[in-house]
Amino acid sequence: MDRSQLLRGTLDAAALAVVAEQDGYGYDVLRRLRAAGLTDVGDASVYGTLRRLYRAGALTSYVEPSDEGPHRRYYGITARGRAQLDESRTDWAEFSQTLSNLLETKVELTA
């Protein structure tokens, strides 16, 4: 299965979950997503997603100076973002359960 296709629909939830855990800047969020196992996630996808979630009001942002290089734009989750994350959680739980059932049934049928 093409993992990048799976990621496309779920990256919003993943990014929200990472930021909800702790505020982070773009590269930091990317690193934490990869560390969590989403190794295929594209750099540009993460940065674009963060910007879109920010525009939609799911994230807030603030700038902090950095000792090394340019200042960093941190993202934090908003109330709206938290609501979206909760919704995503429920949706995912249902969806993954459905798909798991479906796939396991198929395996049993073919076995």
């Binding site: 990256l11 590269y27 594209g42 996808s45 674009g48 997603t49 879109r52 290089g69 340019p70 734009r73």
Partner: protein
């Protein structure tokens, strides 16, 4: 320190290309997006040890992914529409349209030429000769059969041309065929022009059978080496014909190195042999006795009894 100096420049060029690829999105949104990207690129560069492009792929792809993830409309369809509109605008331009109409009217000439080229190119490839009286007609068996083949091919080609105007199918193979024949027209054209110059050249040869200046059996003579009966090379021997005409050699072409005798009256003499040449920049003939490798035979006949000078 070299890496520290290298990292920003590579990031900057990468970023500039990303910016260029996002040129169509609103300026403030693009600025924020790129600010986010720039900080992250620096992190990527310092962590991976330099090459951002190796890590992230081409900047245009990066920009496309960024655009898609950020939910900003892609720019490519817009640009395609612009191109097509521009092309259509160009096609409907009065001058372009007039040229297209004109070439459409001239097409039958090409159809006829195409028919001839097919036969001529095939005959040329097969090594067939051409008619002696009509150089453009290839001999296929005979010149008459060749002429018939050309006529048939021209008629067939015109028929195909008329047919292709009414039917749009087989347009691609016809276009390819036209291009191939246009290519074949080059050797055929060269062959035709070569034939015509050949005929002209033959005429010139007939007129100029007499080589101007000094000649021996038709070949031009550029020097004469007179030897005495005892085998000594003679110098500055003046040669004349029985009519008293000096046997002048190359009086027209001026050669500054040629040693030309001058009379007391100041006239130049061109029939003195052997002709000698000065060393460049001097008035010295390096080897005045140099001559062709000839072995002068021993003469048995007694010398003529010559008394005094005439």
């Amino acid at each position: 320190m070299t890496t520290a100096a290298h990292v920003p420049s590579e990031v900057e060029t990468y970023l500039a290309r990303v910016r260029a690829a996002l040129a169509d999105i609103p300026a403030d949104e693009r600025a924020e997006l790129l600010e986010e990207v720039e900080a992250s690129l620096h992190e990527t560069a310092s962590e991976t040890g330099g090459s951002v492009a190796a890590q992230l792929g081409p900047p245009e792809d990066f920009a496309a992914e960024l655009r898609s993830a950020a939910g900003l409309h892609p720019s490519t369809p817009l640009r395609m529409v612009g191109l097509r509109e521009r092309f259509e605008g160009l096609a409907s331009h009065p001058r372009v349209a007039a040229t297209a109409r004109f070439s459409r009217e001239l097409a039958p000439i090409w159809w006829a030429a195409r028919g001839y080229i097919v036969v001529a190119a095939l005959a040329l490839a097969a090594g067939a000769s051409c008619s002696t009286s009509h150089g453009a007609v290839p001999r296929i068996g005979s010149a008459k059969l060749g002429a018939a083949a050309v006529l048939l091919a021209v008629l067939a080609s015109v028929a195909v041309g008329i047919w292709s105007r009414r039917n749009t199918i087989a347009r691609l193979p016809l276009t390819i065929l036209n291009l191939v024949l246009l290519g074949a027209a080059i050797p055929v054209g060269i062959h035709l022009s070569h034939r015509s110059t050949q005929a002209v050249a033959t005429r010139i040869v007939v007129q100029t059978a007499i080589v101007p200046g000094l000649a021996y059996n038709g070949a031009p003579v550029d020097n004469i080496y007179p030897y005495s009966r005892d085998g000594r090379l003679l110098h500055d021997v003046l040669l004349y014909t029985g009519a008293g005409t000096p046997l002048n050699i190359s009086t027209t072409a001026y050669d500054p190195l040629r040693r030309i005798l001058v009379t007391k009256a100041g006239n130049r003499v061109f029939n003195a042999f052997p002709v000698r040449y000065y060393e460049p920049g001097t008035r010295v003939v390096l080897r005045p006795n140099a001559g062709p490798k000839v072995k002068v035979p021993r003469i048995a006949t007694a010398p003529l009894p010559v008394k005094g000078r005439r």
